[in-house]
Amino acid sequence: MFGRLGFDDLPTELITIGGALSMVGGLIAVTAGLIYFKKLGWLWRNWLTSLDHKKIGVMYIAIAVIMLLRGAGDAVMMRAQQALASGDSTGILSSDTFQQVFSAHGTIMIFFVAMGLMFGLINLVLPLQLGARDVAFPFLNSLSFWLFASGFVLINASLVIGEFSAAGWLAYPPLSGLEYSPGVGVDYWIWALQISGLGSLLSGINFLVTILKMRAPGMKLMDMPIFAWTVLGSMMLVIAVFPILTVTLSLLALDRLMGMNFFTSTLGGNPMMYINLIWAWGHPEVYILVLPAFGIFSEIVPVFSKKKLFGYTSMVWAIMSITVLSFIVWLHHFFTMGGGAKVNAFFGIMTMVISIPTGVKVFNWLFTMFRGKITYSSPMIWFLGFIATFTIGGMTGVLMAVPAIDFQVHNSLFLVAHFHNMIIGGVVFGYMAGLTYWFPKFTGFKLHEGLGKLAAWLWINGFIVAFGPLYILGLMGATRRIDHYDASLGWQWLFIIAGIGVLIIGAGIATQILQLGYSIWKRKELRDSTNGDPWDGRTLEWSTTAPPPHYNFAVIPEVKGQDSLWTSKQAKTTTKQSTTYNDIEMPKNTDAGIKLSAFAFLIGFGLVWHIWWLALIGLFGVIIQTILHLTKDDHEYTISAKDIKLHEQHRLKGTSL
């Protein structure tokens, strides 16, 4: 009846019990709180069923932050284990738990934190920057979010019922095959990624169409803010490579569920093909994440330098060449598998070539600051941290692009340090800067500056302390993912320093939480007195009020050239009060996305535990719900011009209705 699910699937180790209890406890506490304050209905009507891109963006970020805490917790456990488990000591985790922890850490950080923050920020900012009322397909947007949320639930369910994959974040077969991983861990991994990956794919389509079809009248592609360009590049990558992930995961699932032989080591299966395919997705994925971070800095640097972005055209070329080049480098993740010299050299050289446009961007940012008037608000602190760490990461990346060098540092802690340089220094610092920068747009008050700077400073220093030692350990021949090592190797003190570094990063995260709480508490003092343009911005999102009305712009702006808001501010023609309003059609709230994703969750859960009837219910639910939704015509409602006029009058005065 319940497949392979039984009572012995509940956690037994102290740490996993703690994880499970905190998960269940948190869920109960939140639900109880909502019921007690009678907010459940409000939450459902105003948030969960909303198709407003800004609310969906906030929900993405909320999930990403929860997952950041879990991922950081995993990191602390890993570092604690490695700092302790030297010689006779076996540390605090069993090998199996340790391997689940690092697999979960990688999976969570990439799929649920970085992707979540990215889609959250894009959702918040992109339509506003383009002068659009919403994304191209608001319902699809909600569906994408709920699929992401459903993957989130599934991966967290693994903490309570059963186990997680212990095969690393990319689950190479044959280790992840049935023969060596018969449990449910890998299945959880597969279906959590499959469901949330589907959401990412749909988002990719959605934002691509938004950029290409929904720009404000007069905005040519070459007038778009650089952030929009980077999102375009990133979404082109999403639609091109997420299908590869979908197939690769499906094939692994077919191996595990139906006894197929794609990646088994017997009956002709070829595990190398899995590694080839997963990296054909995996490498572009890194650029999917980092491109929007580049875009964020390209917005922040001109604003805080009070100067036009240097070399716009070169930036666009750099972004597009990075987009295309990132398709032809994936083999550099497996030089050591033993491909020939020619194929290794080709992919190595292509990898180096990417560093050219990336370097160009760095110089363009620096020369945007050159002869500017730089104010060091916290986004700029993140930027300086980014330049320092990302440049180092880029250098170690170029080193590893030479196959002869890669043979010596691949799978070592040197590699781990390198990609954290890119992901933390590049992606996370970028997104944190973006969150700080755009926060007042959506709340009407700024985050506290002092705490923000402290948090950035803790992150940057913590990063150096946590990952500097890993470079050294890598050069000493320490491999990644070890839960124990001999005392004679003399590695322990470096691991301890790295552990301290993680604690400093943890202090940074704590400071950010404190900053958020404190800023909400002091929101009156931190109020954005400009009603929507606190940083003296240059792009369209700053032309509407803070927070923006749910239709974003009462009158769609006409755009002439780049930095249109800045140009019009310079020309002193800020005539926001256009008096002729038209009716606006907005999408109605719907719970179809939630229902579809709930059914998708049932499919995932059923397949993980081999509860076939549950998966079938999920499947039929998806089919019927899709047909019902698509054949319904009535998806929109109209706001009359009169209502808008009334609303606008209050809004522009800064009073609420």
Binding site: A341, F363, A404, Q408
Partner: protein, 303 residues
């Protein structure tokens, strides 16, 4: 005044941390730089070359960042301010051009060294190479010496200055065979042969390991590489041949079972076909089968 002091401290701390880490690194035995054989040494040379080449870009970036961020802070009223200056052909030519030149140089090096240091390439050496077959197990390493017909677990003993031809496979999930002081790593996979050519020019013992996760006991999957002189090697073989421990198929099947026991074992004999048997276990992979000669299947399935 107090504020400026705070800024200086804030900037100095990360610089001090970095400096002390670099200092700490120089006191350690960095296996990849402090090598024991020719291959690893050449890999280290390329690493150094690429590192210094990239400094041509890295140093200006750091210099510029520090200079620009101090000079053009908004408080500095003396600095020039050109809010609409956003384009300069000559400057952009420099930072598209210089990296292109550097990458061209590095590409040439990459192309050449990918060939000269291809792990599959036999070494140029007049001495006859020693053949060693390597099998990754769960979770130990088995080394077979087909010419000597001896086998060892978790210990690779090799003569100094002689090229060693390693043929690597796996009877376990994918592993990566790595002796940092002697040469870069290569994956070990079931049903497949990968190759690595190494040579050691200094006697001593070097750490070896699996660098790719292969299950629970993976962290313990380490071995020692003993480099001894040619005579010592011959003696070692001769002395140990007197022992009568034999690695039979049954014994192999036993040791192939998962175990985290990391002890060294020596076998004076083993079944000549052992390596092939291990490969064959997974070898239905890509066997070309000619079915066209069997009459009943020539015309396909449906009738």
């Amino acid at each position: 005044m107090k504020k400026i002091f705070l800024y200086i401290v804030a900037v100095m701390i990360p610089i001090l941390i970095t400096a002390s880490l670099i200092f700490a690194a120089t006191t350690q035995d960095l296996a990849i730089l402090n090598t024991g054989g020719e291959i690893a040494r050449r890999q280290h040379e390329i690493l150094s070359f690429a590192f210094w080449l990239s400094m041509v870009v890295i140093i200006p970036v750091f210099g510029l960042t520090i200079f620009i961020s101090i000079r053009y802070r908004s408080k500095n009223k003396k600095a020039k301010y050109t809010p609409n200056w956003h384009h300069s052909k000559s400057l952009e030519t420099i930072w598209w051009g210089v990296p292109i030149v550097l990458i061209l140089i590095l590409s040439a090096v990459t192309w050449r060294t990918s060939h000269t240091l291809d792990p599959y390439k036999p070494l140029d050496n007049d001495l006859p190479p020693l053949e060693v077959q390597v099998v990754a197990l769960q979770w130990r390493w088995l080394f077979l010496y087909p010419e000597q017909n001896v086998a060892q677990i978790n210990n690779l003993t090799i003569p100094k200055d002689r090229p060693i031809n390693l043929t690597i496979t796996s009877d376990a999930p994918m592993n990566s065979f790595w002796i940092p002081k002697l040469a870069g790593q290569v994956y070990a996979m079931n049903g497949m042969n990968t190759k690595l050519h190494i040579i050691a020019d200094q006697a001593g013992s070097y750490d070896g390991m699996s660098a790719n996760i292969s299950g629970e006991g993976f962290a313990q999957m380490r071995f020692t590489t003993e480099v001894i002189t040619d005579e010592e090697f011959d003696n070692w073989i001769r002395l140990n041949k007197y022992r009568d421990e034999e690695l039979t198929q049954e014994l192999y099947d036993f040791i192939a079972q998962p175990s985290e026991d990391d002890e060294v074992h020596f076998f004076a004999h083993y079944d000549k076909n052992l390596y092939q048997t291990i490969l064959n276990k997974y070898m239905s992979h890509a066997i070309p089968t000619d079915y066209s000669n069997t009459p009943e299947t020539t015309n396909g399935g449906h009738h």
